[in-house]
């Protein structure tokens, strides 16, 4: 296997940066919460409207496991190359916090649902492997809303229990990541896989929350908590590396602490310097019986979709496109699906260029998703280009016009008169230009090469840009 030949990296490279991530993934594509029947689609509703005795932790209420959440977790575990334990068991993690209605969180400790996996990512120099220590299931707590926004300044805090009991899968990596950029690539890759598995809607707020552990040269580590975006993770880690480096350079010492990333200012601030002696008193949750999941895994493995790495390899061989294009096209499931729809009808190589290099850039510039452009339009576009009906320059204009004003390629081409000019028209234009500009013709004949450019410009003007520049040049040189 290709993965097996990948070597683990040396313990530390010369920079000495070690990063480990803990990612809390909300399984928000389930219908209900992890231990009760409350619905998950609360994002547009008022606070505390999706609650029941169970997710409010009322006295006497009992949890019942959502079987689908276990299936989804196994699915993710398998996609992350983890082994699935024979039995899985829930534990109680005991601590007091206002958003925790029972005074304990139901989570996993020994016997997590999945362990010992890995993801391969694009490292600074080639593909590298990031090991996954484990993935365990747990319940999300409620959400604190500090009146006035900041915890220091607010007079009171409100608690919304709509989020309480949403199924989380916490994915914990080994400290195998070496740079903020790698961390971001890891997170992007993970999101990509989760999207392929169709278990998370990553566009919803709070669907992927990251805690990052970071240390330099094996020194003390700091933990940056609750980073809400991948870009934020990269920035927070970059800030931490610079902060820790400067501290060490000045002869200081990095202390083990928990820090908070202030997204607005782009800095991390200390939350707790002396790590509180936390004793969570983990012990088995007797209200939930141990689940024998060994029998579930083989069936779920059969339902696994093609994952990004496999799809990328297939794109290269099936569509005869470059690895870079395949990578770009598979980095989002929707884009890959879009590409396959287009490639089924037109030249796959040309489609790859136009989707990966042009369309994605234009979408990104406008902060739009692939949904903003119909695949039928791309099919029409590629047909126009392949049939030599429009120039590349016109192609770009068509895409921009459709994104900004709407319409189909045929409509835009007709409205703007972008159809590539036919041979007769160009020949006539060349003749006209030559007879109208005897001075420039003479200059060229006397060895002044730039004169051709002037003549070409005149031809393009007459044909309103619809002529192929290379061809025009050739014709002028032949003619004079």
């Amino acid at each position: 296997m290709r993965e097996e030949s990948l070597k683990l990296r040396p313990y530390l490279d010369e920079v000495g940066v070690m990063i480990g991530l803990e990612i809390h993934v909300q399984l928000n594509k389930l219908n209900t919460k992890i231990f009760c029947g409350c619905p998950l689609d609360y994002h547009d509703d008022g606070p505390n409207t999706h609650t029941c005795p169970v997710c409010l932790g009322l006295p006497g209420s009992l949890p019942v496991i959502n079987r689908k959440s276990v299936e989804y977790s196994i699915k993710v575990g398998l996609a992350l190359n983890c082994s699935i334990e024979e039995h899985t068991q829930f534990y109680r993690k005991n601590y007091y916090y206002p958003d925790l209605p029972k005074g304990f969180q139901i989570t996993q400790y020994d016997y997590p649902i999945a362990s010992s996996g890995y993801i391969n990512i694009e490292g600074e120099d080639g593909e590298v492997r990031v090991r996954i220590n484990r993935a365990h299931m747990e319940e999300d707590p409620g959400r604190l809303v500090h009146e006035g926004g900041s915890i220091e300044r607010s007079k009171y805090t409100l608690i919304d229990y709509n989020r309480s009991g949403v199924a989380l899968l916490e994915i914990v990596t080994e400290p195998d990541i070496r740079s903020p950029k790698e961390a971001r690539r890891f997170l992007d890759k993970l999101r990509n896989i989760l999207e392929y598995l169709d278990v998370v809607d990553t566009t919803l707020e709070g669907s992927m929350r990251v805690d990052a552990n970071i240390s330099l040269s094996g020194g003390s580590r700091s933990e940056v908590k609750n980073i809400s975006s991948h870009k934020g993770a990269e920035r927070a880690l970059l800030f931490e590396i610079v902060r820790q480096k400067n501290l060490l350079r000045r002869g200081g010492k990095v202390v083990q602490e928990t820090r908070h990333f202030d997204e607005a200012r782009g800095v991390t601030v200390s939350l707790r310097t002396k790590e509180e002696a936390h004793d969570y008193r983990y012990f088995p949750e007797a209200d939930l019986v141990s689940l024998r999941v060994a029998d579930w895994a083989p069936g779920i493995a059969k339902t696994l979709p093609e994952l990004p790495d496999a799809r990328r390899e297939r794109f290269v061989s099936q569509y005869d496109i470059t690895d870079d294009h395949a990578k770009s096209l598979t980095s989002e499931k929707k884009v890959a699906d879009f590409y396959e729809q287009v490639a089924a009808e037109v030249d796959s190589k040309l489609a790859a260029v136009w989707i990966a290099d042009v369309l994605k850039g234009e979408l990104n510039y406008r902060d739009l998703g692939i949904d903003a452009f119909a695949s039928a339009n791309m099919v029409q576009m590629v047909k126009l280009l392949a049939g030599d009906k429009i120039t590349e320059q016109s192609g770009v204009e068509v895409i921009r016009t459709i994104l900004d004003e709407g319409g189909t390629p045929d409509e835009v081409v007709a409205a703007k008169g972008l159809l590539k000019a036919g041979g007769d028209l160009v020949t006539a234009a060349v003749e006209e230009v030559i007879s109208e500009n005897p001075g420039a013709v003479a200059d060229y004949q006397n060895g002044k090469q730039e004169a051709v450019n002037f003549l070409m410009g005149q031809v393009m003007k007459k044909t309103k840009g619809r002529a192929d520049a290379k061809e025009v040049r050739k014709m002028i040189i032949q003619r004079v």
Partner: protein
Amino acid sequence: MITVSQTLATIQDSSAEEVVSQCIDRIETSKFNTFITVAKESALEAAKKAEGHTGPLAGVPIAIKDNISTKGIQTTCASRILGGYIPPYDAHVIERLKEAGAVIVGKVNMDEFAMGTSTETSHYGPTLNPWNTETVPGGSSGASAATVAAGEVPLALGSDTGGSVRCPASFCGVVGLKPTYGVISRYGLISYANSLEQIGPIASNVADMTLLFNVIAGHDPRDSTSVPGEKEYTKALVDDVKGLTIGVPKEYFGEGIDQAVEKSVWDGVHRLEDLGASWQEVEMPHTKYALAAYYVIAMSEASSNLARFDGMRYGLRLEKDHDWHTTYSEIRALGFGEEVKRRILLGTYALSAGYMDKYYLKALKVRTLIKQDFERALKSTDVLIAPTMPTPAFKLGEKISDPLTLYMADVNTVPVNLSGVPSISLPCGFSNGLPIGLQIMGKHFDEETIIRTAYTFEQNTELHTKAPEVV
């Protein structure tokens, strides 16, 4: 004491409203401090609706231990911290009772959060034993048994974590069952030690107890530990023990056992022998470790189960709020009684890093050994018979100041909870005017055999017709 058949007959003659109204009169003039909350209005309303109801308990009043959630009726666990808490939902057993037409007349006293053996740790004061008001009714479901013994209601629900149904049944001379773990849904039972406790029925005789059990037992998808299936337990009410083999574990007749208790229980075994059963002594060698293991497990679970009581959303609230750390600890300091605090602290200690292996995990190992004791003993026998409590009811205040001595009283009941098997306590004699309880334990999910044994014993003695003089 009143039976269900008497009650149903009275309802026929007059009305459910009349019966419930008389029942509430008795409760309101009770000398035994049995009720914390009387649900007069809702009970009379339910009685009205019970006219024409075809359920087996149509119009029959029932008392509910105050740790079982009742929609719209205050539920306090006899603790100050839950004062004023009105659950917005019914426990599974309450739903079942309502379907059967039963009328919830109110919530009865108990040891605070079911922690105790005497109903003396209640925030609402101790309940008195109707046989002798200087003695305790047992605990923690003391008032559930006392209210039945006093003839205030024909039926009551208790909960049994380490003997809390059987101990008061024994002290008050009534019949109580701790079913197999998983047979009655715990949904709505406010947890003290969730891996041990079960809701249990209490009545003045075996048939009524079985009828009540039949109504509340059965699968509930809201409790993961609830077992599938439904049974008709009333079919086990058969007066016949021929061919039955009784095991008598000698370890249950140990140090500190009252002579009258020992004699009455043996008399009971011989009475069943006369009726066609045979008996043999069995060994249950790990019994001596049961008490220690039980208290470690129960307290560990309690420390976690009681974490949710912080006064933020329900129950006791202070006039002035501080930061949340301080507010939590002030509310918990004021809201919990001494015994509850003792168990939370000991449980927290037993689970903490460094002590987990020494106490909690060790206790789990003992639990496995106790289970094996039962499996072995019940391989060659059908039921086990032993004293429920080593003594008759003790005096109020006699043991409460010495928790360890009090814990010792549970020596014969806790192994049953550790192993999860079912067990019935029913009267088998008297000592100085105080009832003595006989305990019949059975195999997992074999409630039928212990019900049949208890029913046969009862039908062939006069004990269940005796009642305390309460006027």
